[in-house]
Symmetry: C2
Subunit: 459 residues, 2 copies
């Protein structure tokens, strides 16, 4: 019974969530009339809830006429009026939309895999760190030296970036780093080039300081960097290893072109290397900052590869900016948890970080392959899959005369949450809608159910 | 042997730190020739280090001729040349300063009491929270609702501030909240009034947005708010419950004057209530925001009362600013640890927070009384103590023709770290030097040693 996959949320009692999800499966015909439900014991075990919880859910379904008990044999699905079954297949109208369908499968891109998270090790180190004397004081304004040293070592090994603790700034998020950077650059550089489509959060950070923005169109084949020559900006924000959201990587020629451009213009390249850990088809491409660090500001974070909730990011500054940055920001306390910084430093020092990354690369690769093969199987030529070589999401271009909004709403009616991409596009709009599917915190079974429901909802 | 108090730091091996501190005590005559040192076992137990560590320290002292062993009887201090003893009492010259004296007692104000920190409860809740599903996603941009609700309840009970979760913004630090606020206000309010002396970190945050600053002089008797009428600003930043750094509280008349001024000017009062939890002589004064919240932006934090390293602050916005703030900052992810937010919410919900505050108020009150009585005993009329009714530090005005720098350097030569106040003053300078002594993470014994060494150093 692959359909009995539940995403519990904390808002309503668990028995109610089980009841609602079964109700939905029955109404949609996913569990046909006459079919037997799993036994109380089996379901309780597989969902890790008490038998009482399961019993309450079944009782409710019995009371409402969805199922009936046959003594020791178990519970069976009733014949439902045609009307009820049909309900799920007609287009949602306003009223129905308001009685929200519960979310069964959430293709959210901002979550990380919970099953493989190293809870025990992290907890152990975190508990040790809590009693350290350093923890009872304010930390260093640019981040703890021990963590900056670990990051320097990691960047050299995995990204080819030669740097030292002194050039690394620890912060809470990429956006915050971009706001700090913007403060530093705004007086000398009034405008910035951004990718189109590109990460909306970066644009927001630049608009915070009222930079004027120029856009560089990016396609599935990449961007045309010769266009840079016609632009007036001296600063560009790019995602070279895994373009956000298109997923394409810059070739070495493009990287070199970009560096030559920045050198000639005496400007800067802001390289956001946000999820370079997860490349599945070949070794990660070297970072721009590994080729020539004099004009590159390198950004990395622990949100995709570890846990977004610890709010831990970092930035490597080129020599020409370090002192200027420190002069400007020395008066400000760090915004980043000292406890998490000390824990992460230890976690990296004892080798747990590289173990975690290696493990997660395999886990996510398996999930990515699973998602892509299911999408191909279910949709065949009706969609194009974009960006399957790396990262924690794919884009799906839907070859249908439907709007992005329609696709999202229909999916939502089937309990599947999928995400828009139109917010990433500025001028370089596409004619067909593109949907974003993150998979990091879904199991393979959940991915399968999600794709199956998507197919039903979009056909 | 009250003098054997060690503040280990992580930079050098522990045995070396023990060795250096004993060496200092012996050189200064704090442990006179002939006196017996504590036994290896006793010292190891009291410092919670291995016996081997203690033995290595003693061996080093023996090797350098400071002490000698007498078999089973133990270790005894040698007669030292007069020169060596004298060395500690002559004024430090450049060369000596560079061979830094280790810090024995640090009167730092930014640390919190480590001994009474509820490590077990915090750890337990934090460990539970780590496995919650919410933790594997991004949090709410303005902070978790559960924590905002707890803060609303707390503010009503303890500060008389009527508010709701919706009006509360969670952030990492007071400075960060001020920078966000500055972004919101800068277009309509080009200048801000700050207290003189006042919190330098706030001024830095306002200068980040290039506000022009007007200054309101504050004396030990408080500020003269009639001066506000001559100023052009419509916004003022104040610390009403415990003026930073002078320690005076605004009377209710002053509070009402201030609110009338802001109402008339259609401006705002930024109320930084940074350590109002710790008032020792009477009930805390009600917050400005409890009198009239339409013109008051209220700031609070967990850095003084709980742990600076978790980086948790909050701001209560008046209705006229809430939507404007949310429009501006919705695109930005929170910078504050989701894990710490969820842990703190639970910690407050189960009543641990109010227990902690009650306990710490007693602990800090005892320390404050101890520090103040020792200062009076040792210095009599040669100093004036400022701000002993509340907070986690006192100011000491030294009636001596010496500079602040001299006082700090002399103290440092005796292993005592004390802090300047000149950085808080803008135009309203004082003729006599004022030194800041924080006591929160010092034991009563350490406070005693610190004051005794201070007396020696300044006489």
């Amino acid at each position: 019974m692959k359909n009995t996959i539940f995403a519990f949320n904390s808002d309503s009692p668990k028995y109610k969530q089980i009841y609602e999800q079964f109700k939905l499966f029955i109404e949609r015909g996913d569990i046909p009339p006459g079919e037997q439900l799993p036994s109380i014991r089996m379901l309780a075990d597989s969902l890790q809830v008490s038998r009482n919880t399961t019993l309450m859910a079944y009782d409710q379904l019995v009371a409402e006429g969805y199922i009936h008990g046959e003594g020791r044999k178990g519970y069976f699905v009733n014949e439902l009026e045609a009307l009820l079954v049909q309900k799920a297949f007609i287009s949602p109208n306003k009223e129905e939309k308001e009685s929200e369908t519960p979310v069964l499968i959430d293709f959210r891109a901002g979550a990380v895999d919970q099953t493989h998270f190293p809870v025990k090790v992290w907890r152990k180190i975190s508990n040790q760190v809590l009693t350290l004397q350093e923890n009872f004081q304010y930390g260093e304004p640019f981040g703890e030296t021990c963590l900056r040293e670990q990051i320097a070592t990691y960047l050299l090994q995995s990204r080819g970036v030669k740097t030292e603790a002194n050039a690394i700034i620890i912060g809470s998020s990429t956006q915050q780093m971009l706001i700090h950077l913007g403060h530093l650059l705004k007086d000398n550089f009034p405008s910035i080039i951004v990718e189109d489509p590109g990460y909306d959060g970066a644009r927001e950070a630049f608009q915070f300081h009222r930079f004027s923005l120029e856009t560089l169109p990016v396609y599935e084949s990449g961007a045309d960097f010769s266009l840079l020559e016609q632009m007036k900006s001296q600063v560009i924000y790019v995602t070279p290893s895994h373009q956000s959201p298109i997923g394409v990587s810059m070739t070495i020629q493009q990287r070199q072109t970009l560096i030559r451009w920045a050198t000639k213009r005496k400007g800067y390249i802001i390289e956001d290397d946000y999820d370079s850990e997860f490349r599945y088809t070949q070794q990660p491409f070297p970072a721009l900052a590994s080729i020539d660090s004099t004009r590159v500001i390198y950004l990395g974070n622990f949100s995709k590869s570890f846990l977004p909730g610890i709010r831990l990011s970092y930035m490597v500054l080129p020599p020409s900016l370090i002192n200027h940055y420190k002069d400007q920001f020395l008066p400000f306390e760090s915004t980043t948890s000292l406890l998490h910084q000390l824990t992460m430093a230890k976690f990296m020092e004892v080798g747990e970080w590289s173990r975690h990354i290696k493990r997660m690369r395999l886990v996510y690769k398996r999930k990515m392959q699973h998602l892509v093969s299911l999408l191909k199987e279910q949709f065949e030529q009706r969609i194009t899959i974009i960006g399957e070589q790396s990262g924690l999401y794919v884009l799906v271009k839907v070859h249908q005369k439907r709007s992005e909004e329609w696709l999202i709403e229909r999916a939502s009616f089937y309990g599947v949450k999928v995400y828009p991409t139109s917010l990433y596009f500025i001028k370089n709009k596409t004619s067909e809608p593109i949907i974003k599917l993150g998979f990091s915190n879904l199991s393979c079974d959940e991915i399968q159910l999600g794709v199956e429901l998507l197919k039903k909802s979009w056909s």
